[in-house]
Each structure stands twice: as structure tokens, then as C-alpha cells.
């Protein structure tokens, strides 16, 4: 099984409890209402959840609500999310959010050839960020390789 495609896409770190996999930040180009959306992910071999942190720039200084990831016909809502920080960048606000999803959600998303979409609202205004088709086709392969390595280390 070839793993070269994921080289450089992640780093792994041995810890006392197991292995930490950090998936490097990825910018999503198709955004609505926000700019510079970038997410990264941390997988821990001793847990069954993935920490997804993401940053975006918005003209609104409001905490995101109703966070969900859409993948095809599936909608995975997240209740465990909170802001990490908010900074002022030029004339916009840079907001960083940490969220947690079950690892089964990641598996389902990686199974789907449709690009996943990050969905949330700010002050009732809908925002979203998504991969382009081509970017998802390439990144899905790498993420699947990383996910297999994560499963191997459990």
C-alpha cells in the first residue's frame, strides 16, 4: 500500500499515551461570507475523536453558531466547539475555533467523493467553506492514507 502521497501533509509525535497525528493546515477556496478559511486536524491514537481547529476572517465579531460539516447527504452537527481567540487583522476579525468530532464522522466524510462543507452561522447569517472538487480529490487520498496510519497505531 503506497503512503507517499500523504508525505508532508501531516506529522506524527510519540506521546506517553500513544501517537499524535497533526494534519497540517489546509485552505479551503470556496467560501461564502468569510475569507481565508483554513483548518487543521489532530488525531490521537488513544481517543476516538478528532480535534478540528479552523480559522477564518469575517467582518462580524460574532461567535459561530450551529456548526456542522456536510458531506453529501449527511450533516454532522457539532456541539463541542468554542472560540480559541479573536484578533483584528486589517479591517476584519480573525476568529479561531476549536471543535471536536467523533472519528466515525471523519471516516464517513473520507468515504464520500463529494467535497465536505463546513457550515455555520454568525448572528444568523449563513457562512460556509468547502473544498473545490479537484482539491478534494487530491486531499481525500492523502487524508485516507493518514487515517489508515492512525487506525494502524490504535
Amino acid at each position: 500500500m503506497q503512503a507517499q502521497s500523504a508525505d508532508g501533509r501531516y506529522i506524527s509525535r510519540m506521546t506517553q499515551d500513544g501517537t499524535l497525528y497533526f494534519i497540517n493546515p489546509q485552505k479551503l477556496s470556496k467560501t461564502e461570507g468569510i475569507k481565508n478559511f483554513e483548518y487543521d486536524m489532530t488525531l490521537l491514537s488513544w481517543t476516538d475523536s478528532a480535534t478540528v481547529n479552523f480559522t477564518f476572517r469575517s467582518g462580524l465579531m460574532a461567535k459561530p453558531e450551529n456548526l456542522a460539516i456536510r458531506s453529501g447527504n449527511n450533516v454532522f452537527r457539532c456541539d463541542a466547539f468554542k472560540p480559541l481567540f479573536i484578533d483584528i487583522k486589517k479591517n476584519k476579525y480573525e476568529i479561531r475555533i476549536t471543535s471536536r468530532f467523533p472519528i466515525s464522522v471523519l471516516a464517513t466524510i473520507l468515504d464520500n467523493p463529494d467535497p465536505p462543507i463546513f457550515d455555520f452561522t454568525q448572528d444568523g447569517i449563513h457562512r460556509h467553506a468547502a473544498y473545490s472538487e479537484g482539491a478534494w480529490r487530491k486531499d481525500r487520498k492523502k487524508l485516507n492514507d493518514i487515517y489508515r496510519i492512525y487506525l494502524y497505531s490504535k
Binding site: 508532508g8 506529522i11 509525535r13 510519540m14 506521546t15 506517553q16 499515551d17 499524535l20 497533526f22 497540517n24 493546515p25 487543521d40 489532530t42 490521537l44 480535534t51 481547529n53 480559522t55 480559541l84 481567540f85 479561531r96 476549536t98
Partner: protein, 112 residues
């Protein structure tokens, strides 16, 4: 026996076309060589006695020809903030270079 050697010199236009083709081949070979010279390195910055933890944060900036860009915050504080890290275990610095033109600098912070 007829002299088959042509004494007609190559027209000037064909000569410059031939030179241009050679220059383009050389430029292409240089680009390939530069591409092969692209590299990524990771170096240690600091380590503390804090536990390794379960979080990782990254901060980076991108420059082009070391002239354009490079204005983003790629310090330890930014990386720790990005990872939600309040107790730093250790820090690595990394650099990726593409074709000798685009360079990405950054730090990676681990902790809890």
C-alpha cells in the same frame, strides 16, 4: 564528382531561432534542477520539562524571492494560540522551499 557541400550559410532568422531553442532547453533544464533542489527542513527550537501533551499548533508565513510576502506572524505565541496550547512542551521550526522561489517558514508548538 560534384561538390555536395552547401556553401549557402544558414539564414540569420534560422540561426537566432536555433539559439533561442537552445536557450529554452537550458532554461528548462535549470528549472528542473531547481525543482530537484527544493527541500524541506525541520529544526529544534526549544524544549521544556512540560508534558508532551495532546495538542499541536502551527504558525507560518510565505515569501516569494525573499522579497514579497512574509508579513504573517509565525512566532511561537501565534502557533500556541492556534493550537489552544497554554503549556508548551517543545517547539520545532520548519522551512520549505519550492524551486528556490517560494519559501514557507514556520514553527510548530506541542503541548497541552
Amino acid at each position: 564528382m560534384s561538390d555536395i557541400t552547401s556553401n549557402n550559410p544558414e539564414p540569420p532568422f534560422n540561426q537566432s531561432l536555433s539559439v533561442m531553442k537552445k536557450m529554452m532547453k537550458f532554461a528548462f533544464a535549470c528549472i528542473l534542477a531547481l525543482g530537484a533542489a527544493s527541500c524541506a527542513t525541520t529544526t529544534p527550537v526549544a524544549a521544556t520539562s512540560n508534558p508532551v501533551g495532546n495538542k499541536c499548533g502551527i504558525a507560518k508565513t510565505t515569501t516569494v524571492l525573499s522579497i514579497f510576502g512574509g508579513s504573517a506572524d509565525c512566532g511561537i505565541n501565534k502557533a500556541a494560540k492556534n493550537g489552544g496550547i497554554t503549556r508548551i512542551s517543545h517547539v520545532d521550526a520548519f522551512q520549505k522551499n519550492y524551486l528556490g522561489i517560494v519559501t514557507i517558514y514556520g514553527v510548530r508548538v506541542y503541548g497541552e
